[in-house]
Subunit: 339 residues, 2 copies
């Protein structure tokens, strides 16, 4: 059996603001043999997600931060090389939080086998992976979306936002998305079937929300935080739900903790006037219910109700720069690194 070289991006220091290449160390080690119950995987695709920025910060958050010198945490999908777990054999396609590396030795019980006849491998990092679960539970459970309501979603062409809007359209809702630039705005309306798009780079968001949703919002699904959250708060209806999924506009501003956003929402008293609620959630809390959600999502994709788009960047070594496409708004669709 030949030796396998495993290349890894490890966290070298905690980033201050936007992550830089120097915040990571690119290391190489020989991939160990699989122990009992373990599986060796050649990673094909690595998921790049906004939440990764939070995981790089020190201090208590919803999960332990990545330690200095540890392999950077990330979802990944790949192909089984060999296996000492009865459920897996060479050639199986699998997904799990295997980290930013080219290979992994991973416990079989934490590995999920995926069916590439149903969808291509990268989709299991997007619509059928964490972003898909986030959109599903955030919209239907936390947002408690009811048929025919009015919904606004930010980062609407992104991995989560695009699915939120399409799930809402399935429920007969009036759906407005916020995205940056004409291409993304056209995409969510023409390709995904949103009722309207707001281009935050070229128009006043608060005015546009008022224009597209004159009776106010029942649900605002927030991926970005900042002034856009305030624009949504200013336009709530009675009993509205504001779902706090993320605050990508803020993650790199503080050089500090994820729970210390630089921008504070001044319109929060709209929650009182409108008897509304603002609620945060973490998709990992719904792990027990992923199988049903994944089944629903797969059916909706097969039926053509849910479209998905992956933004696949090739080259393991580009990891630090490719990750930053998320924060500059340069990615278009679910950002995936091809190893």
């Amino acid at each position: 059996m030949s030796t396998i070289e495993n290349r890894q991006f490890r966290l070298a220091r905690r980033p201050n603001g936007l992550p830089e290449r120097e915040d990571f160390a690119l290391t190489t080690e020989t991939l160990p043999e699989a122990g009992d119950g373990e599986v060796r995987v050649a990673i094909d695709y690595i998921s790049l997600d906004p939440a990764m920025r939070g995981w790089m910060n020190a201090g208590k958050s919803y999960i332990k931060p990545v330690g200095i010198d540890e392999v950077m945490r990330a979802g990944a999908a790949g192909t089984v090389i060999d296996s000492k777990h009865p459920d897996f054999s060479a050639g199986d396609k699998v997904a799990a939080n295997m980290g930013v590396q080219t290979h992994a030795v991973f416990p079989g019980k934490q590995l999920r086998k995926v069916d590439t006849n149903l969808a291509e491998l990268p989709v299991y990092l997007g619509a059928l992976g964490m972003p898909g679960m986030t959109a599903y539970f955030g919209t239907l459970e936390v947002g408690a979306l009811a048929d025919g309501e009015t919904v606004l979603v930010s980062a609407a062409s992104g991995a989560v936002g695009a699915l939120v809007g399409q799930i809402a359209k399935k429920k007969g809702c009036h759906v407005v998305g916020i995205a940056g630039g004409k291409t993304k705005c056209d995409y969510i309306v023409d390709e995904l079937g949103f009722d309207a798009a707001i281009d935050y780079k070229n128009e006043d968001v608060a005015d546009a929300v008022k224009r597209h949703c004159p009776d106010g919002l029942d649900v605002y699904f927030d991926n970005v935080g900042g002034e856009i959250l305030d624009a949504a708060l200013a336009n709530l209806r009675l009993g509205a739900r504001v779902v706090i999924c993320g605050a990508i506009s803020q993650y790199n501003k503080t050089g500090g903790k994820m729970d210390d956003a630089a921008y504070a929402p001044k319109n929060y008293m709209s929650l009182l006037v409108n008897r509304a609620r603002m609620e945060g959630f973490i998709v990992f809390d719904f792990t027990d219910r992923y199988p049903q959600a994944a089944k629903d999502m797969a059916e909706w994709i097969s039926a053509g109700d849910l479209k998905h788009r992956e933004d696949i960047v090739e080259g393991f070594d580009t990891f630090p720069e490719t990750l930053n496409k998320l924060f500059s708004g340069d990615n278009f669709g679910k950002l995936v690194l091809k190893v």
Copy 2:
């Protein structure tokens, strides 16, 4: 039948910041006879509540603002003079939103008869009135308080806060109150049975919350907004509920709308990290359920489980200055104006 002079405080102009005497006009008119279904009332007590500041502002809020030249809106309790409604007769004690005036002609169907054997008349403006209903529904419904949880409440010696804390104690909760000054802090611990008090005038609230609630808060009942809200947000537990009842620290800062607080909570991302929710409510939404709540509250008062304290100021003419005791923190207990 002799002529009755009715004296009234009418809103003369919209206050800018703290209300001033010049914002009101003191008018006198002859009290009309009661029409069919109406009742004439001599008002004995007028309820002074923080929400009144919001009602003075222009613009859409949760209820119509008081119009210029209209009698200032307020809860009131009094004695029936004469009645053309079958349910009321002279001498009955009644309560309703009769406004800041010495007398009222009022529709009988909007009037609530009260039992002064059970509790003295001013109590029907406090523990058995709007503040009581606010504490009851805010704590048990919006806060969804469970037995044995950890609860923080601000304005804890006030009309609502004192009841919130005592309801929570009935549920076996660990209860911490925030109040201004040693007298109020001693009162909530020694008289009302709170587990601890935080004196916001003399200690760092965020530090004190951490000290008294080292495992974090399950419920924060917010009457004040501002930096105290941020201190609470920084100390949430998983699944916490932040109940937005008011923001008295903010009402006079903007000269503007109630839903435009001057202070924005910078720690709102704690909602995400802790999968917590922040929810506003208006007690009027629970009107249908007041009877059951009032029955519960009356039983708890009779049983000695709920203590109440009224701060009764005599002199109808002092209305503008007495109202401002709410905003300076000078009142101690439910503020009531005795006519």
